[in-house]
Symmetry: C5
């Protein structure tokens, strides 16, 4: 799972039927401190009612589709948690 | 999910049986404003009747195959929505 | 799906049982005009009787395994179509 | 599977229901000797009670979800082993 | 599928139950002639009794898990064939 910040919403009236009523958010990948990474923003399904500006973590790939009741949908990115805190272990990487 | 613009169509008479009658479009990955990214164009199944020039978003990976009635087909990219609008939240990334 | 050109065949007597009798081809990723890309050649299952020199398109990932009757096999790349023609829409990317 | 070192823990009260009670660890990808690679840290489910500082290996993609009793969960990274030793074969790569 | 050379073995007593008794090998990605590529070594399940120094090809992603009797295991890389010969077609890439 990767960190990202919610930076916007995507409006699309024409989309696959499996996503009717689902929110699609624009997220910017970032590090654990919220600093944007070089990766481009992407569109993710929202499963935790994330709001613009919040630090979240998301999954990529088919596993994203499992957040909907019917996993036979084409999601390849989904927000799966709101980050409260990241506790780095001092010296772990020495 | 990622943004792309439809830039052409692919004609192939010899293809896997599961895709008979399906449209295959050539898309150029781009950002939310339609600016082409460094990624190469790719071929995607079309599920929303996209037309050349339109801004769409697409999925990558096995989840792409779920847009057909029989998900046991080898699609690894599919267009899943026409983008009407992207509303970026001002200041979200500060 | 991505474009590639068939550049060789791979011979291996010892392989997973699910692939007995299947052809394994060496393909070089390229663009829609057949120009080789920077990506390295890879090995793909063949589902359309592709011949060396032909322009094909292939899928990557688990979806590649669906071209065999029993999808519980470990293929992660498969040729799924012979490219007849790519029609780019003039001006689509302006 | 790839090597990583555990460098912290992630606290999130709001997350997908399938992960209730699961530990989420922050890991830094590294090589077989524990030297950090250029890849960014990521968040992984823990299946082997790894502790900060330990050398582990992890999987990426939907297969990560299979470490939970119900594989219909959105995990895309999971720690699947504690590394005791890596024995490189001298001269294998000559 | 990609080429690699076996360069070592990985010893881990603590690992996911689904892999009990399975060999884990360290492999270095390479090209069809055995020349190491820039990609980092990775850990792969072995399904063909590969030995250090041998040229093999491997799969990445969830499809790797299908080499075990129970595909609900978290493998994301597996060796699936020993390479006997690669026959490149002269002039195919002109």
């Amino acid at each position: 799972m990767h960190f990202a910040r919610v930076i916007g919403t995507v409006v699309c009236t024409e989309k696959v039927p499996a996503w009717k009523g689902q929110r699609l958010l624009l997220v910017q990948p970032c590090d654990s401190a919220g600093k944007p990474s070089a990766a481009r923003p992407l569109v993710a399904l929202d499963s935790v009612s994330a709001a613009p500006g919040q630090l979240v973590f998301y999954v990529r790939g088919r596993e994203a589709s499992t957040i909907l009741a019917n996993p036979e949908n084409p999601a390849d990115a989904a927000i799966v948690g709101l980050v409260d805190d990241v506790r780095e272990a001092p010296g772990a990487m020495r």
